[in-house]
């Protein structure tokens, strides 16, 4: 395949992103809808309950769902405005086919499907099955995640399937498995409210998970102390009892020094350590030289603050430790996570009321989407694709010979690298926008241009789908039924509010037809989403992520069911490990040494400034949906370069000055926002934009050796002030969504 068929400007003119301020059909029916559909938000891992107002098969507004126990009606601006994506002017209403020099033309399903299947067969017969890869996403429901995993292995017969959770919390998942043998937050959020101390590491909770803030504030009403580790003074860090402004890439030094303090002061739960853990001695040996002074030098956090944090953590009776991408997006993300877990295990505060530990999943189905087998190394039930017993069990459920099941494939970033090297020739993607979301995205764009055939299943023509040969018009969140699993492990029900418009189809029906045309129709003869879920339940049975006892009926009746839930009479498990039986082979929780090492790309004379990236409250991930909602774009119209006044002064930069940020991967220009709420050696850019405003042109593809997560959160950059002010927001390319 070649470059884009027509210019980016032309594609945007035809397919957006355009900003919607009102439903396409106006607010007709806003006040008097045909029905209210109880469902959940399509964005972050909180999965707030809400009701969609539906009139004439279109979503025309929202109404809070007061009874849903997690959020009781509370919402963030994304959840409130999400209904504006429905019937959006940019919505793909039929399959599209690429026409060189002309752009894309609408085609019928027969044409799109038959061309896709012909190309898949051609590429696989020429280069081998693994030369056709698949990329998936965790905004998909559990049913679709399961179906994608089965589709890639049974219909497409490729090993190279991975998912965009690879950019999210796989470091946490890998750390959880090493320490506990199971990958889930240990408790429901309810335990947060009564914890004596809460430690938040690398998470701007207030902007990324706003509805979780209520639980934190309630905890503080109950007397909780709050420790926040973050290079920026975020809204949650602003109010913390102790803010630790860590130098990006040095987190594990902080946790190591805190562990050393726990040992020195004997703030340890010896009974728990002796009876229920292993690896303690080797772990503390690894940090024996981690003095406060050393940690101050490495992390940039005053020694006194580290000491205070250790004392607050060590002396509490109950606690909740949570972290997110700030410590996970690193080439040592797993070590950072293990450093946090070691602090939890040393104090024995897990599996008890008001004690908890876990990652906060960023994507809507970030939890469920990592359990059902669309990761390159995983089968449903969180089973291991290299384990013969696990393979046999799933092969039997799928009705195939275990020998025909592909093995472990490449991870997401590695798949793009393999495409770039010419080893992978074909790609199918669903719900993944790597041109915006992967690091070093100039390489990603070049890779897509080398593909012989690319088919995207999508509802908008996002930055990646623009490179496709064929786009299959799939379904929005509100157009397909299923379940998702929220960040607290609660399996909940997504109810379809409307049917797909025009000739668009549900993702399940698209995969089903492709499978049939690839000769595996009998393996995908699902009548509806509940039938997929029922097969998923069986496939998960006996795995660590056991959903067998969860049914649609139970979910609706109980406002969700927490997994593991191994039988129909099992109540579900809001709090793990109460029995002190961990899911590891020896039944113990494992300490793991997490010695400090430098980030992959330290600063130097040429690139003297640390660049870190993150999110803003009004945008979601690659912005495919939120950059099309006018109200949300107005709220934070363009990516800004946050920079401390002292660093700004060194470069002669003032507020709103246009600054070129350069790394070894690329360069881009951003307006400066000069603020004292960031470390003076670090600059921050939000990553939701594409094209010339994409922060991921700059970030680096260093991978964690275990989780293979890229190091989005730290690389070296230089700043070049351009000697002029940024144009007014109304004239900004980013605001125009280019």
């Amino acid at each position: 395949m070649a470059k884009l068929p027509i210019s980016v400007d032309k594609i945007i003119e035809n397919y957006g992103p355009h900003k919607a301020y009102a439903p396409k059909q106006g607010f007709h029916g806003h006040a008097d809808p045909d029905k209210l559909v109880k469902t959940h938000c399509c964005f972050c891992g909180m999965q707030c309950g809400l009701q969609l107002k539906v009139k004439d098969n279109a979503v025309v507004g929202f109404e809070p769902w007061m009874e849903f126990p997690f959020n009781e009606g509370r919402m963030c601006p994304k959840g409130v405005a999400r209904y504006l994506q429905n019937n959006h002017a940019d919505r793909l209403l039929s399959p599209l086919e690429r026409v060189e020099s002309e752009g894309f033309k609408a085609v019928d399903w027969e044409t799109a499907m038959s061309r896709t299947v012909t190309e898949i067969k051609r590429i696989q017969s020429t280069y081998g099955n693994d030369a056709f890869a698949m990329l998936s996403g965790v905004s998909l429901t559990n049913e679709l995640s399961y179906m994608v995993g089965k589709f890639a292995r049974v219909a497409l017969k490729t090993a190279n399937l991975d998912y965009n959770g690879r950019l999210c919390m796989v470091s946490a998942g890998a750390g959880n498995k090493k320490a506990f043998g199971l990958d889930r937050i240990s408790n429901s959020w309810v335990d947060l409210k009564h914890a004596e101390v809460i430690m938040i590491c690398g998470s701007n909770v207030s902007e990324t998970f706003p509805t979780l803030i209520h639980y934190i504030w309630e905890a503080r009403d109950n007397g909780a102390k709050l420790i926040v580790v973050d290079p920026r003074v975020t809204p949650v860090a602003r109010t913390a009892d102790l803010h630790l402004p860590v130098r990006p890439g040095t987190d594990s030094a902080l946790y190591g020094a805190m562990l050393q303090q726990l040992v020195e002061n004997d703030w340890l739960d010896h009974d728990f350590i002796n009876q229920h853990t292993s690896g303690f001695d080797a772990t503390i040996a690894a940090v024996k030289d981690y003095s406060l002074e050393w940690a101050e030098k490495v992390t940039g956090i005053p020694a006194e603050s580290i000491k205070q944090a250790a004392a607050m953590w060590g002396q509490a009776k109950t606690s909740f430790m949570m972290h997110a991408r700030g410590i996970e997006h690193h080439s040592k993300g797993v070590d950072n996570v293990l450093g946090c877990i070691n602090l939890v295990l040393a104090t024995g505060r897990i599996g008890k009321p008001y004690c908890g530990y876990g990652t906060i999943t960023g994507q809507g189905n970030g939890q469920g989407g990592r359990e059902h087998g669309h990761k390159c190394d995983q089968l449903p039930g969180n089973r291991d694709i290299t384990n013969p017993e696990h393979r046999k069990y799933i092969a039997d459920v799928w009705g195939i010979d275990e020998k025909d099941m592909p093995g472990k494939g490449l991870t997401a970033y590695e798949i793009l690298e393999a495409i770039h090297r010419g080893e992978i020739k074909g790609l199918i993607s669903i719900c993944f926008n790597p041109v915006v979301s992967l690091p070093n995205n100039n390489m990603v764009r070049e890779a897509l241009e080398k593909l012989e055939y690319y088919v995207a299943i999508d509802f908008f023509l996002n930055e990646t789908a623009r490179h496709a040969n064929v786009v299959l018009s799939g379904a929005l969140h509100e157009e397909e039924e299923g379940t998702v699993t929220s960040a607290e492990g609660r399996v909940i029900k997504i109810n379809a509010a409307v049917t797909p418009p025009g000739d668009a189809r549900t993702d399940a029906s698209i995969l089903k037809e492709l499978a049939a045309r690839l000769g595996a129709g009998d393996k995908f003869a699902f009548k509806n989403s509940e039938a997929i879920f029922n097969e998923l339940r069986v496939a998960s049975k006996g795995g660590t992520a056991d959903y067998y006892g969860i049914t649609y009926e139970r979910i609706v009746k109980n406002y969700g069911v927490f997994w593991p839930c191994p039988s129909l009479d099992h109540p579900g498990t809001p709090r793990l490990w109460e029995d002190r039986k961990f899911a590891t082979p020896d039944g113990k929780a494992h300490f793991n040494p997490a010695p400090y090492r430098d980030p992959g790309e330290p600063t130097d004379k040429e690139y003297p400034v640390v660049l870190t990236t993150g999110r803003v409250v009004s945008q979601y991930l690659s912005g495919t949906q939120t950059r099309r909602i006018g109200k949300l774009l107005d709220q934070y119209p363009e990516p800004l370069l946050e920079i401390h006044p002292s660093l700004a002064q060194q470069f002669g930069i003032q507020d709103r000055d246009l600054v070129k940020v350069v790394t070894r991967r690329g360069e881009a220009e951003f307006p400066a926002q000069v603020v004292t709420t960031i470390r003076s050696d670090t600059v921050f850019i939000p990553y939701h934009w594409g094209g010339s405003k994409s922060a991921n042109q700059l970030t680096i593809g260093n991978l964690d050796p275990i989780s293979k997560i890229p190091e989005f959160k730290v690389c070296a950059c230089k700043l070049i002030p351009l000697g002029r002010k940024a144009p007014p927001v109304s004239e900004s390319d980013a605001y125009q969504s280019v």
């Binding site: 301020y21 009102a22 607010f27 806003h30 006040a31 008097d32 507004g61 929202f62 809070p64 007061m66 959020n71 009606g73 509370r74 919402m75 963030c76 601006p77 959840g79 409130v80 405005a81 207030s206 902007e207 706003p210 509805t211 803030i213 209520h214 504030w217 309630e218 009403d221 003074v233 975020t234 809204p235 949650v236 602003r238 109010t239 409250v617 009004s618 109200k631 949300l632 709220q635 006044p645 507020d655 926002q673 000069v674 603020v675 004292t676 709420t677």
Partner: protein, 191 residues
């Protein structure tokens, strides 16, 4: 749509706790969904000093006991009802003179230039009059905005007291809306 049943619960009060505001703007987005606002928000979130802090405050109609906006209105377009709600300008009366904009000590009413009309929060009368909570307080994810009884608030925030007496120099203003202050506070002196 049928005329809403008037079911306003006078025990319910509105509380604003600036310390908890996380600058998410959910209140603004949700306010614009109100049936009577024409997709305009009547609540506003502002940074105090973004160069040095991420602290934001919310600006919402305080529903004064003796509303200056209504008192100075030459067209009698602004009224306060028996529930204590100060309503937005009556569209058939408002002459767009901006007297209310200048008179309000809290800087709340805004003149919508395109419509030549003053608009402001009416405590989500379409919702509160049928027993629901105002949209902004319903969605507020942080509890910076809360609509409930004084007793509920006392239990929720044992370390704070609601204050609805404001001193603007020599002028004292009592409001239906409360701001949460440190325990023991009785009034807020603005200057």
């Amino acid at each position: 749509m049928a005329e809403p049943e008037k079911n306003f619960d006078q025990d319910m009060e509105f509380f604003v706790d600036m310390q908890r505001c996380i600058s998410c703007h959910a209140c603004e987005t949700a306010c614009a969904e109100c049936e009577t606002n024409g997709q305009e928000t009547m609540i506003h979130v502002n940074y105090v000093d973004r160069a040095h802090s991420v602290q934001t405050t919310v600006q919402v109609c305080m529903h004064c006991e003796d509303p200056a906006c209504a008192n100075v209105c030459p067209a009698d377009a602004i009224s306060k009802d028996s529930n204590g709600v100060v309503h937005s300008a009556n569209t058939s009366r408002c002459i767009g003179c901006s007297n209310c904009v200048m008179a309000c000590p809290f800087g709340v009413p805004k003149k919508m230039e395109a419509a030549e009309l003053m608009m402001k929060c009416n405590l989500c009368y379409d919702r509160t009059s049928v027993g629901k909570k105002p949209m902004c307080a319903t969605v507020c994810p942080s509890g910076a905005l809360y609509y409930g009884t004084r007793e509920e608030m006392r239990k929720k925030r044992p370390n704070s007291d609601p204050v609805n007496t404001f001193k603007f120099g020599a002028q004292t203003v009592h409001t239906k809306v409360n701001v949460m202050m440190p325990k023991g506070s009785k009034e807020l002196k603005v200057h």
